[in-house]
Symmetry: C2
Subunit: 182 residues, 2 copies
């Protein structure tokens, strides 16, 4: 692959992440314009819009997985779990599409993105069970509902355009519910 092609591919990915992060219904032309390339170049690298979206989504999921794996090395599993949870919610508040994207990952996405989604959820599950082992999170909470809660908080924060203080108080309520003994 030629050097300029590789360069352009990267620039298109970056631009797409940005554009679709702000407006999931953005057009391919918008991406091309921000990337500083012609429309045809976008389509040469990603034959359909769906494939482009999927590539962006996969990248995001992989980054989240990496962050979870990194935190899994921490010596305070409880803190690590809540930090990850908070980060996911915060980021999705500023990037409108991540909730949309996370959703699509579980549902109607291509194999690559689905695999990335599975990887991310596995890493999240690792954080959760570690936090439960040290008694930071109630042990009767299962992965499915805790994950749903995280997605919900993300989408809720994004949708309602929450002020950060409100978002934090909402998270505090959630974390109280996740605490043991309550």
């Amino acid at each position: 692959m030629r050097a300029d092609a590789r360069d352009n591919r990267a620039r298109i990915m970056t631009a797409a992440d940005d554009v679709f992060g702000q407006s999931p219904s953005a057009s391919t032309d918008d991406v091309a314009r921000l990337a500083g390339v012609g429309i045809a170049t976008v389509f040469r690298h990603f034959p359909t819009k769906t494939e482009l979206l999927e590539a962006v989504l996969t990248l995001r999921l992989e980054r989240l997985r990496d962050r979870a794996l990194e935190l899994a090395g921490s010596d305070d599993p409880g803190k690590a779990f809540f930090e990850f949870f908070t980060q996911v919610v915060s980021e999705s508040a500023s990037k409108l599409a991540i909730g949309e994207a996370l959703t699509a990952a579980g549902a109607a996405a291509g194999e690559e993105a689905r695999a990335a989604g599975r990887g991310m959820r596995e890493a999240f599950n690792g954080l959760l069970t570690a936090a439960q082992r040290t008694g930071s999170v109630r042990s009767d909470a299962e992965m499915a509902e805790v994950y749903a809660l995280m997605i919900g908080a993300s989408r809720g924060a994004t949708a309602a355009k929450l002020e950060p203080p409100v978002r934090d108080r909402m998270l505090a309520l959630i974390y109280d519910g996740l605490a043991p003994h309550s």
Copy 2:
């Protein structure tokens, strides 16, 4: 207004509620087809697609407000609050657009829909403060974050296509967080 016009208007509203409930990106033709009328008829009653969406949204918000007011008459405010919360989440799970709609209500909607949104939130606030007075909900929780939690749970449940048991366990976690003393 002629009788057939009134009839058609009602049928269009019903059809629109149904169609947009299943797919927020549905076209006006879809609505017309389901309503059994021509496209022009839809546009005669609702000059733009936005106005049609707004009418549907307003109707939904008003129904929720009425339900909240009805529950406010109950003699068990705690039960009433949680019942309303659960109902909102359940319904939005089966009707994909309600979250989208509720969001739009707070944000970029016309005056009519915004007013309906305010009315609904006021009624919700009534349920909440009553439940707090009887000690069913912690008193340090403010309306803003509790409302955000409800929207989040709704959107999360819809987005993740939760099985009802998982949804119920997620709600149980939330309700634990809303309980006093925890």
